[in-house]
């Protein structure tokens, strides 16, 4: 193996590590944050659609019920997230991987 090959291999490893580090430290947390925020907004949306799931009568749930067939996944995930969420702080804290 000559020198140029060894340099080439070294550079490849460095590039991979750099990309991994950048992804783990910067991009992934950022995207995760956005996705969590998206989920939060979606939760608010579904809560606004179906407050009667919590015993709050809503004059519009008759209309929002029409959305249920299209909200299958969201509805299930929503319920799961609501059970899962101890406090708002905990939810917001999940993005920091200590």
């Amino acid at each position: 193996m000559d020198l140029s090959d060894r340099i080439e291999r070294f550079r490849r490893i460095v590039r991979e590590w750099a990309r991994g580090l950048y992804h783990g430290l910067v991009t992934h947390p950022a995207y995760e944050k956005i996705e969590k925020e998206a989920e939060d907004v979606e939760d608010a949306f579904i809560l606004a659609c179906f407050p009667d799931a919590f015993g709050i009568p809503s004059p519009v749930s008759y209309y929002t019920a029409e959305l249920l067939p299209f909200l299958e996944d969201e509805f299930e995930a929503w319920e799961r997230r609501l059970w899962d969420r101890g406090t708002y702080l905990e939810r917001k804290g999940q993005q920091y991987h200590f």
Partner: protein
């Protein structure tokens, strides 16, 4: 006058009688007329002595007049079944139970009846093509006002929902890194589409009520009825809807001057009270009194309906709808 005419008022003042009489009057003047009862306690059938259902049916003996009665129970059930149908088309069997529970809850909320009635009467307005005039015999004041106030309220609501949905989809799209498929996409999102359809429906309803409908209140010449009418006019104004006129029903007939029996004295006293009330209506309420209908000794039906129709000083000529169509 506008093609859609609504008669409202306190319970028991004779809205059904007046709407039916107006229906007869319109039909007699050559208009194809439909009388629609949106009161869950239907009595159009009793007035015409004929049973009506959810679809318009011609009224026997009056050419050009049809009638229908909207049953909120049936409407709620129909709505529920419609959603159930699309549920079984779209949703995996495991989730159906979960969602069905939510669905049934939504159809037992206090607003369900009102929403169902509202949907149906907007449909009637939308499909009013074969008729020149549609007369709505509404349920007593409170719920009718809420019905008429719905479109604006709901439009705002739908707007906020759409905004939330758009925001979450937007974030999901942004969260999709590189070649990853975003969890939701804005294009052709079925939820947004459904919301948009609903919004158009409410916009249509609001527009039709504001530009193609005339409202009349029926009242009796007593203090309770006058007070309620005053409040109702105020609430209509809050919803940007103007009341076109008032109909005084069940006025006591005056006895002849030479009579002085107990009955005659009773009638005279009663007439005095009523004259005061009517004066109050004329002076303090804005919409003009368009008809004064004397109380009858028999129930108003058959040929009596024509007499009542004659006393109604409400024009019948119908303009073509400007908004609907």
């Amino acid at each position: 006058m506008e093609p859609f005419v609504f008669f409202g008022g306190k319970g028991g003042v004779g809205k059904t009688t007046v709407s039916c009489a107006y229906g007869v009057k319109s039909a007699r003047s050559g208009l194809d007329t439909l009388v629609v009862s949106t009161d869950p306690a239907h009595s159009v059938s009793d007035v015409f002595e004929q049973s009506f259902g959810d679809d318009p049916q011609p009224v026997d003996g009056v050419d050009g007049l049809s009638a229908m009665e909207i049953d909120p129970d049936t409407e709620v059930q129909r709505h529920l079944n419609g959603i159930r149908q699309s549920l079984s088309d779209q949703v995996s069997a495991a989730m159906v139970n979960e969602i069905t529970q939510q669905l049934e809850m939504a159809h037992q909320t206090p607003g369900a009846y009102e929403s169902a009635l509202f949907d149906r009467f907007v449909d009637v307005m939308r499909e009013s093509d074969p008729y020149d005039r549609v007369v709505f015999d509404t349920s007593p004041t409170g719920s009718t006002l809420r019905l008429l106030g719905l479109p604006e309220f709901l439009e705002g609501w739908i707007d906020r929902l759409m905004h939330k949905r758009e925001k979450s989809i937007d974030l999901f799209e942004k969260a999709a890194i590189g070649n990853n498929e975003p969890r939701r996409v804005m294009d052709g999102d079925p939820v947004l589409n459904r919301l948009r359809e609903r919004k158009e429906f409410f916009e249509f309803a609001g527009g039709a009520l504001r530009s193609d409908a005339a409202f009349f209140f029926v009242l009796n010449p007593d203090q309770l009825s006058v007070n309620e009418t005053r409040r109702a006019i105020g609430e209509m104004a809050d919803n940007d809807l103007a009341v076109r006129g008032l109909v005084a029903n069940k006025l006591t007939p005056e006895p002849d001057d030479d009579e002085d029996g107990r009955g005659a004295r009773y009638l005279r006293d009663r007439v005095n009270t009523e004259t005061e009330r009517l004066a109050e209506v004329r002076e303090t309420l804005d919409p003009p009194l368009v008809a004064e209908i004397e109380s009858r000794t028999a129930e108003v039906k058959g040929s009596l309906l024509d007499d009542v129709a004659d006393e109604l000083d409400v024009e019948t000529a119908a303009e073509a709808p400007t908004f609907v169509g």
